[in-house]
Symmetry: C2
């Protein structure tokens, strides 16, 4: 069976999990190879080197996440609805790609990211900034640096996600709604 597509995919999946859990520098190629059930050399058939591997991964998931947020974006609904859409996007994306968002969050300023990766990430930020700026104009969003507000949103959400994965907490609908509300209250103006 031409597993070649599968192997590439396996390598990417294993790498993603390790990078998310231990970070780029602490994960070794043999670790990834072993987990992907592939020879160490095989990784180099698919990726020129370790940095190309991370960058590939990073760009792939940032793009995927960006698309998730943009898809069916309710531009003509209320700001609160738009926020809900974005938040739901995070939830959906995290459900479909367990480690991806955490990986992105922990590596978005890393020294080994190349131009393309940085630009890709900028595009993602632009979407969120765009939303916040629009809201600020309407005086519905606090007058604070977008990056800080974005950090609050991702920080809270990802921490929650960690707890859920660790089994310390159950991912009830109610809980997610609570976190969404909390993030929204952090971001919006209060009359």
């Amino acid at each position: 069976m031409s597993t070649s597509v599968n192997k590439r995919e396996n390598i990417l999946q294993s790498a993603l999990a390790f990078f998310a859990e231990r970070g780029f520098d602490a994960t070794t190629i043999p670790m990834i190879a072993n987990d992907a059930k592939v020879g160490a050399g095989t990784i180099y058939r698919y990726f020129e080197n370790k940095e190309v591997l991370v960058n590939t991964l990073f760009q792939h998931y940032v793009e995927l996440f960006t698309n998730t947020l943009v898809e069916e974006y309710p531009s003509d609904h209320s700001l609160r609805d738009q926020f809900h859409h974005l938040f739901q996007g995070m939830v959906r994306f995290t459900n479909e790609h367990e480690h991806a968002l955490y990986f992105i969050k922990t590596h978005n300023a890393a020294y080994f990211l190349d131009e393309t990766s940085r630009k890709q990430f900028e595009k993602l930020l632009a979407i969120l900034r765009n939303f916040l700026d629009q809201g600020r104009e309407e005086e519905k969003i606090r007058d604070l640096p977008s990056t800080a507000l974005i950090a609050i949103i991702f920080g809270g959400f990802l921490e929650l996600h960690k707890l859920i994965r660790a089994g310390e907490i159950e991912a009830s609908e109610e809980l997610l709604e609570g976190v969404e509300e909390s993030c929204w209250d952090a971001v919006r103006t209060h009359k």
Copy 2:
């Protein structure tokens, strides 16, 4: 003279900066030695190995931060005042120890932390949890996992701090107040 206390201190300072900026795995002993203006071997006169060095650093600053939060804690004031005290503690601590809080935040779940470090960190969390739990009883704090709320607070604050250090933003009194208010709104109940 090159008192041993000074050397040890220099090593710790250099290590802190590198660990905060690049992470544990990406910083090498020679980097630290060079920055501390000390022979590589000297580091091993003070610390058994690289892991002992991080753990020492981690424990030291977590303890220091914990003390900052606890000192003059206004137990009998309003919850809002208590929050203000904690937030101010973060600000003060960050002003006094530029890299420390960021280092703590990015390394608190690292694989190389020993028992003592983990326990030390737990103590810090306990203080924050304590505050949140008390508030929850009074129904002044949201019914959400403390860890998630804590993540929101630190996430927002540290992101802000990064922007300030990067010179992208000025650390006005007003800005800090805004972030404090945002974090508080994320955490409290809204009648």
